[in-house]
Symmetry: C2
DNA sequence: ATAATAGTGTCTCTTAGACAATATTTC
DNA sequence: GAAATATTGTCTAAGAGACACTATTAT
């Protein structure tokens, strides 16, 4: 076989599902495409992998270049490679899931006309470029699942947070209300989920709440089960 | 930018972690490489993706071509793309995890000198080609985790099986003994995990055991927790 | 005082885990 | 009968979920 036949010319890209919670609503970071194909449409931030860089590295670079957002967690999601997913050429996209603690205003990057947080609920009907609808959906589903058995929710919180703020993350991503008292008991009894610090805050309005930092644990065992419906 | 710079020449491959349980031992399907690099060493079955086929399609094709094994489950695992993971050129490998119900004798394929089941316990010290050690390890870890919250274990069983055989799958993959009585109760009380059929078998030696088929459920809720140590 | 939010305590029900006891086969 | 495996039942302890009650702030 010739090398061309054995190793056809593939493009390899990384695309990012970057999530955060703003005012009780789960939001995704999207760019408005400046070039064809799909010019003017919304898409996930991303770009082609350089020939001499690793995949994780490419994801981190694109995140910085295109969005400037600093994330607390970045993990590989899945790889999408339908032959016709990009009209230009055969492109395989390795996707990543990222969680950001706060909504710092994203700045436009080199080949992104605009980058902005959009509530994912508004995107239900909206059409994203390429197969990014599917990727975003898969990313959200992954995040929902991982909240159950990991301490990942803290990645959505600022360095110091209250139990109520942590609960708001769960409620926003799961779309279900949780009992504040049972939630509190569960979190505090899970070893290494959060570490208390000797400070309180009163951003809520009522009695001041104790502040916590993310603990060292990454797994949650037993898990925090998601409500049925 | 020229197209060459924007879309560097990547090779895209699929590699497969194919697992089964033979006589209480978890086994992986490995080939002995016939060509350089790593000629003579053990590797995961796999190959390059054709320019006009999807990733899942390529995985299914390589599985059939290289091993002839029929699997009950095939899912994407992760993608590995370190710049120097293949000495020949830049290759990104999209890996898949497959579960086979029984050990039909695998037959050698076109570019595989040999394909055979190997107990994964023996591979702890063994060195696989490329970064396949890491991939195999990740695949096993994924399988271990998924047994907890899915009905995937039935993919390792023949069409009709006993609860004891299903339990043996769990014990082999987790490497932990499970209480037969509690296991039985748990499986039978999980809706849609297994469906009883009106037949029994006595392959075990003692009292005949009822036979079951895999149920329609894919999720296990609440999960079947893995023992601590 | 009232409203608002934080945090503790209590009760019940489900489930996991340990293990006794019984059932049905082969040798 | 003895050995082996299957299956049912029982007990206990841990955890989830519901929710009453107390604590501490602002207005």
């Amino acid at each position: 076989m010739t090398r061309t036949r054995t190793h056809p010319p593939f493009g390899v890209a990384v695309d990012l599902v970057v999530l955060t919670v703003i005012e009780g609503a789960l939001q995704a970071l999207l760019i408005e495409r400046g070039e064809e194909p799909f010019a003017g449409e919304l898409a996930l931030p991303g770009g082609f992998v350089h020939i001499d860089e690793g995949l994780d590295e490419a994801a981190a670079r694109e995140l910085a270049e295109e969005t400037g957002v600093r994330v607390a967690h970045l993990e590989q999601l899945a790889t999408y490679g339908d032959p016709d997913r990009d009209p230009r050429m055969r492109v395989v996209s390795v996707t990543y899931l990222a969680m950001a603690p706060e909504p710092p205003s994203p700045r436009a990057g080199t080949d992104a006309a605009e980058a902005a947080w959009r509530p994912v609920r508004d995107l239900a009907t909206e059409q994203l470029a390429f197969d990014h609808d599917k990727i975003l959906e898969d990313g959200i589903e992954r995040a929902r699942g991982k909240l159950e058995y990991t301490t990942l929710a803290t990645a959505f919180c600022p360095p110091e947070f209250t139990i109520a703020e942590l609960r708001e993350v769960y409620e926003s991503i799961w779309g279900e209300p949780l009992d504040p008292r049972n939630f509190s008991r569960k979190v505090l009894s899970s070893d290494g989920f959060v570490d208390p610090i000797s400070a309180t805050t009163t951003r809520g309005g009522g009695r001041p709440a104790r502040l916590y930092r993310a603990g060292e644990a990454t797994e949650l065992s037993p898990p925090l089960r998601r409500p049925e419906s």
